[in-house]
Each structure stands twice: as C-alpha cells, then as structure tokens.
Amino acid sequence: MRTALVTRAIDAPALLREVAAKEHGATSLFLGTVRDVNDGRAVTGIEYAAYAAMATAELDRIATEAVKCFRTELLVVEHRIGEIALGDVSVAIAVSHAHRAPALDATRYVIEQLKRRVPIWKREHYSDGASEWIDPTRSAREADAATGETHVLTFDPRVSTAS
C-alpha cells in the first residue's frame, strides 16, 4: 500500500506495474482527468491546492480502510497537486487482488472516500480570465433550493469517520 501527493505527472503504467502480483488475477485502475468544460464554462487550466499534512494522513487512512476491508496490500493512490493541464491525470488509484469483485470495490471505495474526505481544493481557470474555487456541495444545494427539497446530498466526514 502506498499513497502520495505528487507535483509531477502521474505515470499510470508505472502504477499498474507497482500493483502487479503473480497471485493476483485482477487489476483495477481509476484515473481522474481534467475536463475542458465544467457547468458549461470553458476551462483552460486547473490548480489543485491541499492541506498537505492532513491530505496525506487522510489518504493514508482511506487506503488503510480499503486494505483491511478488501484484503489486499497492493493498492496505490496518487493525487497531483499544483497547476495541471487539460487532459492531465489528477488522481490515480490502482489495486490488484486475487479476484475481480474486491479489486473493483476497493477502487470505488477509495475514489468515493477521497472525494468526500481528503482536504484538496480545485481552482478552475476559465477562458474569460476568471478563476474560481470549486465547491461540489454548492450545485447540490442550489438544486435543492430550486426544487424546494431539503435532503442532504453532501457527506459530513465528522459523522461517518468517527470511531
């Protein structure tokens, strides 16, 4: 198991090699990449910032949970920080396992938890020169306000990670 915040390009084939094992028949890789359009606005570039010490610790906690739950040590997560270009990989999760279901489940667990819990922020730069920190909870709240619904779509890590 290994997790890292990196400031260089993420090398997906290297991660696949890192988790390969002759007793493991299934390998799953997830890549997050920078899209050129978000909410209808043309994106020209992206910047990821992190609370590095806590992001590192939280990534490690998530990976440890996955390793215990899905019973494989061969799990690697890298998240890129800093300015990154359109199409570049921002996050990569590679997992291998003897069997396919836990390999796929572990991949999904890590990306879902990472998106909810790891203190990393994304600033998008737009073609009109503006830039903005992305708040994934805002569109959910605005949608609720528009429909008059009050269900909670967002996740509060203080609740579910208390132990």
Partner: protein
C-alpha cells in the same frame, strides 16, 4: 501550579489554518483566535464568526484538529493544530 490571571479561565491563543476559498475570504493563510481553556470546536467557530470576515463562512464549516475532522463538541487543547476546511474538491 501557575497563579490564576485576571480571568477565571486560562486563555490560549490558537492559530487557525485557512485554505483555498477561506484563505481568499480572510486574505490570510492563518488567523489567530483567543479561546478559554476547555473551549470546543463550537466555541472556536463562534469566535471566528465574530471577526469581520467571519461571515464568509458557511453555516457549518468543517474543522480539523490535528489533521482529523473534529466534531463540534471536541475540546481544543493548547498546541493543537487547528484548521478550517472548505468544501473539498479533490479527485
């Protein structure tokens, strides 16, 4: 044992780390607030809201103590690493 000061509670000056949109709103990567010994995360948030820029915070911002998310009732100790965590957007 230290002699008591003029206050019933000992006071502590707590540095609070800010990031991303919060750092922009406060125009600072760190602020400092004064809390009574035994203060909780809830007390910290009340104190931050009293600041002129404190109104930039959402209704219930996430707080981290020593690099872990903290519940509102958790007690802050002198020397704890305290941070306000804007809505995260990694991945």
């Amino acid at each position: 044992m230290r002699a008591r000061g003029p206050y019933y509670f000992t006071l502590m000056r707590v540095p609070v780390l800010l990031f991303a949109s919060y750092a922009d709103a406060f125009r600072a990567q760190q602020i400092e607030v004064t809390l009574a010994d035994g203060a909780t995360v809830r007390d910290l948030l009340a104190r931050v809201r009293e600041l002129a820029t404190g109104r930039a915070l959402p209704p219930s911002p996430l707080v981290a103590l020593n690099q872990r998310y903290a519940a509102l009732g958790e007690v802050i100790h002198s020397g704890d690493e305290v941070a306000l965590i804007p809505p995260v957007a990694g991945g």
